[in-house]
């Protein structure tokens, strides 16, 4: 260091060149931020190309159509089937609700496997969106004493009843609140959806969900090509990548076209009901009027759209 500099440095309060102070601050800050961003963002292929892409909901219709076409091409190639990926919007004047008759459910789990079949869930590692809990009649609904792994010869067992649980599509969803990247949100028709191309897999939503309804792809999901359901929706049952969260979407690819969800149609005892809550003539409104409905964990104020009832 030169003598002149040292003399200046020894004056009173330090050097006064504000340019240097600003430059120092900016350069240090930028270096730090660059280091942090680099370490956080990681290196990946297609980084620049994906950098240009924003969330699906914020894209223009043309860009969306492009992306859907790309996805259809990708899936069709991968599975050697003709796969369609739709972007069916919600219907006006529709708010879905679901009813489950626990007087009828026999715990046969056909809904579980129908859902797997319909929604392209990974076969290995296995993912099930619906979980049927076996409860003892004498204890009532007590989650800590329930089990999902019952395996009797025949169902229903005389001393047990069954409670299937899947995403409750809450009106006050905790999962939507905690997602740090807005990868999950509630659609106008009530379905809580996930954009599988935006989710970062942090699993905050899984912590926040009181119903254990969200499931993570711990590794690359696999579906044999012959078992794939080629009729898919972008926000629903299209093949998902690894490292992201998925869950029941009320069969969005079917219900937005008016069809019942797969679980409703396969239940052999007719325990599952589905419809438009805003339609007074719907079966959902009927059952709410005539049967007494309740929801799980109502003290958490999630206000689910999934109603359990007991029809004698």
């Amino acid at each position: 260091m030169s003598d002149a500099d040292r003399d200046r440095a020894n004056q009173g309060d330090g050097f006064e060149r504000s340019v240097d102070r600003r430059a120092l601050l900016i350069s240090t800050g930028l270096t730090a931020m660059a280091a942090v961003s680099a370490s956080v963002a990681g290196a990946s292929t297609g980084f620049v190309e994906r950098l240009l892409r924003t969330r699906f909901t914020e894209l223009s219709p043309e860009r969306k159509a492009e992306i859907l076409a790309d996805l259809e091409r990708e899936y069709s190639e991968r599975y050697a089937r003709t796969v369609t990926v739709a972007d069916t919007p919600p219907m006006d004047g529709v708010e879905f609700a679901y009813g489950l008759d626990i007087a009828r459910c026999v715990g046969c789990r056909r809904c579980v496997y129908a859902c797997v079949h319909e929604n392209n869930q990974s076969r290995d590692p296995q993912i099930h969106w619906i979980r049927v809990l076996r409860m003892e009649k004498e204890r009532g609904i007590e989650l800590a004493e329930s089990t999902a792994y019952y395996e009797p010869e025949l169902v229903p067992e005389p001393d047990a009843f069954y409670l299937p649980v899947a995403c409750q599509q809450c009106r006050n969803p905790a999962c939507v609140k905690v997602c740090p990247v807005k990868a999950t949100w509630q659609e106008p028709d009530g379905i809580v959806v996930i954009d599988s191309d935006w989710c970062i897999g942090c699993r905050c939503c899984m912590s926040a969900c009181p119903y254990g309804a969200r499931h993570f792809n711990w590794t690359e999901p696999t579906i044999p090509s012959a078992e794939l359901n080629p009729d898919t929706h972008y926000l629903g049952n299209r093949p998902r990548p690894k490292g992201i969260v998925e869950k029941c979407t009320f069969c969005i690819h079917r219900t937005r076209k008016g069809r019942y969800p797969a679980c409703v149609e396969i239940c052999p005892v007719g325990a599952r009901k589905f419809g438009n809550l805003l339609d007074e003539t719907s079966e959902m409104r009927y059952l709410m009027r005539e049967k007494r409905v309740f929801v799980l964990k109502e003290e958490l104020n999630t206000r689910p759209r999934f109603y359990y009832f007991y029809a004698t």
Partner: protein, 414 residues
């Protein structure tokens, strides 16, 4: 100006690269651990998080537990700042910078633990405001990302300025640094409160959903962070020529004693609420302390942690044992272990066991997770070592400004 920065960077690099055998041996060990961890991480990147033992039922575990603990360590740097600059207590002011260096290393480790925990690290840029879609004000993890980065930048700027001016033998700009240092106090409280809120806000997990979780986090952070520093200071003054007075150590220990009391008191309050009210939520605490249905994996750790914290508190409370370095160090290690278990295993795992549908899945980490964790800790140690290596000579020189700069720095190296 640019010339000054350039020479600072080059000079720092020189300082970092000059060292004795012990230094390089230490770096080599850390380097090996980093490689060991990085290869495990690569496995995780290619195969997915299935290489861990996390599953849907326990979806946050080893990585997030370590992250939570380390945020506390980073926040505890403030323990040194408060007395130094508020009370203008000289013995701590000289060494407060090490608290900042520890904070920087800890924050780096925190961010790495989050990076290895997310399923799609290649999408981490979604967390950026403006470029991505950071969900503020609603998502607490979003706030956490923001405040942790801000705290890192803050500490880097403070440390950078102090070292830069020290390197060039200029006094630091008080009007620049002191406000930042004062701001780092609420910032430190902020990062830990936000992290606590990530847990406390989750209504679905009654073990976490408690109003006193944030105060508990702060209290335990203020015990464990300085504990690390006390041990580091003793190592530093043994292996380098940096001066650290015993009074500084004892003052920090005294402050830690208050924090430990608060930690135990809040813990007691939580235990009272759980056992006396005896609602269904008690099941999580029972799982932790007495086991349920034969699931007892965490019980020995819970009791070990509690015992360690109580013994440490007593050791720090009694002035005689606080001043005796042997019992002091024992106390430090005990409280470190106690808080590490409390913030790691005894927070994240019981919160998720039993899960929301009543299932008990007993989680234990896999070797891959431990390797990655070890690698990250090694990176943190590496960062801290290198930063100290740069900082110590600079701090030495800034006390003796009339000597030559570089040769002095070299002489100061062990």
């Amino acid at each position: 100006m640019v010339q000054d920065i350039f020479s600072f960077v080059v000079g720092s690099a020189r300082l970092a690269l000059r060292g004795g055998r012990l230094y390089y041996a230490w770096l080599a060990v850390l380097g090996l651990l980093v490689v060991w961890g990085a290869t495990a991480w690569w496995q995780q990147i290619t195969q997915g998080l299935i290489v861990t033992n996390m599953r849907d039922q326990v979806s946050w575990a080893f990585y997030i537990g370590n992250f939570t603990f380390l945020v506390g360590v980073a926040a505890a740097a403030v323990m040194l700042v408060i007395p130094a600059y508020i009370y203008d207590w000289k013995p701590i002011k000289e060494i407060a910078i090490f608290g900042e260096l520890l904070a920087v290393s800890a924050i780096v480790m925190c961010m790495l633990f989050v990076l290895v925990d997310v399923g799609r690290p290649d999408r981490a840029w979604h967390l950026m405001p403006f470029f991505g879609s950071l969900n503020l004000p609603s998502s607490l993890l979003g706030w956490d990302v923001l405040v942790l980065n801000a705290y890192l930048v803050l500490n880097v700027v403070i440390v950078g300025h102090l070292l830069f001016t020290g390197f060039h033998k200029r006094p630091y700009r008080r009007r620049f640094v002191v406000p930042l240092l004062l701001f780092s106090i609420p910032a430190a409280v902020g990062i830990h409160t936000v992290t606590a809120f990530v847990y406390a806000g989750v209504a679905a997990r009654p073990f976490w959903n408690s109003a006193i979780l944030a105060p508990r986090f702060l209290a335990s952070a203020f015990c464990s962070g300085p504990a690390i520093l006390l041990i580091l200071f003793q190592i530093l003054r043994r292996t380098t020529s940096i001066e650290i007075k015993n009074e500084a150590i004892w003052k920090i220990a005294e402050l830690m004693a208050y924090a430990m009391f608060l930690n135990l008191f809040l813990f007691g309050a939580e235990i009272f609420r759980e056992y006396y009210s005896n609602t269904h939520h008690l099941i999580h605490t029972q799982y932790l302390f007495s086991g349920i249905h034969g699931h007892r994996a965490l019980v020995p750790f819970a009791w070990a942690s509690l015992t360690a914290s109580v013994i440490a508190f007593l050791l720090f409370l009694v002035p005689a044992t606080r001043r005796n370095l042997v019992t002091l160090n024992l106390g430090c290690l005990l409280i470190y272990s106690g808080v590490y278990i409390e913030k790691g295993m005894a927070l994240v795992i019981p919160g998720m066991t039993p899960d929301t549908l009543g299932e008990f899945y007993e989680y234990v980490p896999t070797l891959t997770e431990v390797r990655i964790g070890a690698g990250i800790f090694a990176i943190g140690f590496l960062v801290f070592t290198v930063l100290c290596k740069i900082a110590i000579p600079i701090l030495q020189e800034s006390e003796d400004p009339e000597e030559e700069e570089l040769p002095q720095a070299e002489a100061a190296l062990p």
